[in-house]
Amino acid sequence: MKWFIDLLTSSLGRKLLMALSGLFLIVFLAVHLAGNLQLLKHDGGESFNLYARFMTSNPLIKTVSYVNYFLILLHIFIAAFLTRKNKSARGPVGYEVTNKSSRWASRNMGILGTIVLIFLVIHMRDFWAQMHWGDQVQMISYDGTAQVKDLYAHVYMWFHKGWYVALYVVCMGFLAFHLLHGFTSAFQTLGLNHAKYNPVINFVGRAFAILVPAAFALIPLSIYLNS
Amino acid sequence: MNLDSKIPAGPLNEKWSKHKFNLKLVNPANKRKYDVIVVGTGLAGASAAASLGELGYNVKAFCFQDSPRRAHSIAAQGGINAAKNYQNDGDSIYRLFYDTIKGGDYRAREGNVHRLAEVSVNIIDQCVAQGVPFAREYGGLLSNRSFGGAQVSRTFYARGQTGQQLLLGAYSALNRQISNGKVKMYNRTEMLDVVVVDGKARGIITRDLVTGKIEAHAAHAVLLCTGGYGNVFYLSTNAKGSNVTAAWRAHKKGALFGNPCFTQIHPTCIPVSGDHQSKLTLMSESLRNDGRVWVPKTAIKGLKAADAVRIPETDRDYFLERRYPSFGNLVPRDVASRNAKYVCDEGRGVGTTGLAVFLDFSDAIKRDGRHVIEAKYGNLFDMYRQITGDNPYEVPMMIYPAVHYTMGGLWVDYNLMTTVPGLYALGEANFSDHGANRLGASALMQGLADGYFIIPYTIGDYLAGMSWEKMSTDRAEFKEAITNVQQRVGKMLQIKGAKTVDQLHRELGLTMWEYCGMSRSESGLLTAKKKIQELKTEFWSNVNILGSANELNQELEKAGRVADFIELGELMVDDALNRSESCGGHFREESQTPDGEALRKDDQYAYVAAWEYKGENQPEELHKENLVFENVKLTQRSYK
């Protein structure tokens, strides 16, 4: 087992965990987006609410969501740890003039990640926590189904507030930058760098980083503009 | 003193194998009882330290740089020769031997050179096994090129960075022994004296360049792998730190200095741009394959490269093609250098200093197209552009000769031992294999041959004959040596004169370059001798070194080296005065053929001039080791 502990305590091992957890969260984002898109269906929220119930009750999904929570925490924890180590690696005196020979996003993943985290906390307080334990979400029944929580209406309530939508959109911008570096960076950390496939990874990475947060942002925007 | 070269008797191609058999061996279990000091970690030093560590000896290795990987072997560009005959073009050990002897203008030992050619093939095998990424053909086999005018393709190379790759190979072998605990490495540590006890070299005195601490190290044998002394000229292609101190200290402790005046001057270097110039950069000799060397027929003061393109063909003097119709621009290094000097002496030199000639690629670009030239020389053109700001695709390059390599060095016998028992000299630090002129791609070969394949055999013969009892550095000889070093350092620091070390070094360099450079005459050499003696007096009364001895003090480091260069400079002049013939890199104006070519005098000077130190300000004593040629016939070179 020593080898495993060595791995987890090495800088590369920790980077591996960052990359793997990051990639998992990227997949999660895609799934999450697929669900959110149902907010735009004009069916009084039926499909969205049924989907929400499915996501909170299916045992398999529940297990995966626990893994997801764990990986979010792991991603944050290791990031904090590595950031501290990386900061101290510079030594007692920093540079008077700092270089800018890398992309802004790549240098500021910590800040971007922190902003995304703050957004996540707000987001989970308003939706996730309310869905699970809150009293703000009303019950609703569709033809032939039992009562389900009307998360749809709850979301619409929030997305009718201009400041909230603005916050949401801005945070998606930060998420985009986080992904812009994170997506391809994860592949590099895993050692998946090959002249033949790099263009694909780079293209998909860039497309994902732009399209997914953009789609996320479009949902509250369109709800707000249509209200 | 009887100079015994210890060349084994018998046929040329059996000498080394017979000698290896006759050498005494140290029992494997006893090797760990012997300590060996290796000074310098270039190709010779790193390969020797690693190989001796592998055999089981305890090695202490020293380098003045911050890492052994920085030694100046790293800067060698072209390649390394080996008689592999992979190209099926008629190469053989004998041909490499013959070319090297002839190229050295018959001033090297047959026995040494043949051994060098023999082990050359092992070097390539060794380097490949270490993971040196030599250039390869599409079939996966090693690629070769013809280099320095050789008739066969025997040069192995790694793009333009062969020295780097070979040194990193040797450095990796050294690292392995450091990690195994067989080599203890001392970085940023400079050797300042050899300690001789009962006539044998038993240790060295060093200075830690960070703390200034002077320390003694004892051992059973000392290997000096400290490179050449081209920096006596101040401006050379050597690294700024390259110095003669270790060799010179050894000389003063009794090691004879062989052929000090033999200096190689490389024709294709980037010219001096002003007084601030601190070093010269070599451009690969291969440029002369396609470039044409010229100056204007009549002097034009301060001619710039940009204006040169407007000079009509009829007003240009392609002087190498004119004087040497059959070899043209590809004449050997010394001939090309000397002719560049002559046209500049006539006032026809170009550039702001007038000390440069054009190397023009416009015809080659017209003939082959820019892309062909770019493929061949792209990196060199880029380097040139970076340093000078001129674009050689559009305007001619400017080049001028610069000091590149010193064939002279500590006199060693066939076992690489100096005249001090237990003190060895390897690589460029010794005088042995290149005679009066070194062929291209042979320096790397010699450094690695000495370190990997010769010293591991010959050192055993010496150590087997001595007790393994360790010597304490508390002995009087060590204490005295430490005191001497400290006093010398103290003395230099106290002077607090008016001139910087660099200023004095530059003055020495100008004198050496003017009178003991490409072309030497008796009157000039006598002038130089006087000037150098005056400079020595001035150094010891007017140098200004700030700071103390107990800190990182780069001025102090330089000062110690320059003081030794000044003394060496005088010996070089003496040697050049003595050798009243022209051979290889040494051209005496008094000794030329009616049409101005070098005239060798085999009846009078077919010997190694080995100089013995006789005390402060005393003339050195000349000892001659006659060179015997049993296998090759001596001929005059001709490139007409």
Partner: protein
């Protein structure tokens, strides 16, 4: 031209350092950056001030000894070594800030001189092929595809200057280690030890206190020898592959 230089001065590794500003009135555009420092030092000595200590040796861009961070960039604005940087890159009246490499693993010894022996120790931990002198096969015994040899060369061309560490916001040595590991991982001669090598060199790299790679690519942008970050990816691959598969052969059996 006239140049102002703002240089980090520090008497020794223990001392507290600070910036000092110097004026140079006659700088030639043909000077190399280090020659400008030579002139400055001569000026300081004449005034009785301690000259600035800086590392340099070959002055032709290959030994890797020179190490100045110039206006925030290791080796200055061009992708080359400090010794190959020329003053024509700057303008009359410029103020140039010069600092040493900054990394915990590279402590400052004096002024601009830093201790890079951490790199040596990383190499000693596994940057070699374990072959003794002599007794090796013929050089042409194992053909190596040209492209593989070229790629190994591109990695091996690293001069060990440490600009990658100096440039990296995390002072990570991944490009340096990646280059060495890549060279041997690509060549058949390096294959027998590739797993142990990757593990040992990474362990030593971590022990020296270098930061972790966050793939910013600053190292690649500043490397004077153009070493690519594909070498870092290969190091990741080699290391992770090694961690999960090394020791597949039990050692210690077999007897005499």
């Amino acid at each position: 031209m006239k140049i102002t230089v703002k240089v980090w001065r520090q008497a020794n590794s223990q001392a507290k350092g600070g910036f000092k500003t110097y004026q140079l009135d006659h700088v030639s555009t043909d000077m190399s950056f280090l020659e400008m420092f030579d002139v400055l030092n001569a000026q300081l000595i004449r005034k009785g001030e301690d000259p600035i200590a800086f590392d340099h040796d070959c002055r032709e861009g290959i030994c890797g000894m020179c190490s100045m961070v110039i206006n925030g960039r290791p080796h200055g604005p061009l992708q080359t070594t400090t010794c190959q940087l020329h003053m024509r890159t700057f303008k009359d009246g410029d103020t140039i800030t010069v600092e040493p490499w900054r990394a915990n693993a590279f402590p400052v010894l004096k002024d601009l001189v830093v201790d890079r022996t951490a790199f040596d120790r990383i190499q000693q931990s596994g940057g070699y092929v374990s072959v003794n002198t002599g007794g090796v096969p013929d050089a042409n015994e194992i053909p190596i595809p040209k492209k593989v040899a070229d790629e190994a060369f591109d990695a091996a061309t690293c001069i060990g200057c440490g600009a990658c560490v100096a440039a990296c916001k995390n002072a990570s040595a991944m490009l340096f280690v990646g280059a060495k590991v890549s060279q041997y991982a690509l060549l058949p001669q390096g294959k027998p030890e590739r797993k142990e090598r990757a593990e040992r060199m990474v362990a030593q790299m971590d022990a020296e206190g270098f930061g972790a790679c966050t793939n910013t690519r600053a190292c690649e942008a500043e490397c004077p020898k153009g070493i690519k970050i594909t070498n870092i990816a290969r190091l990741n691959r080699e290391y992770l592959g090694a961690v999960f598969t090394s020791y597949e052969v039990e050692t210690g059996g077999g007897g005499e």
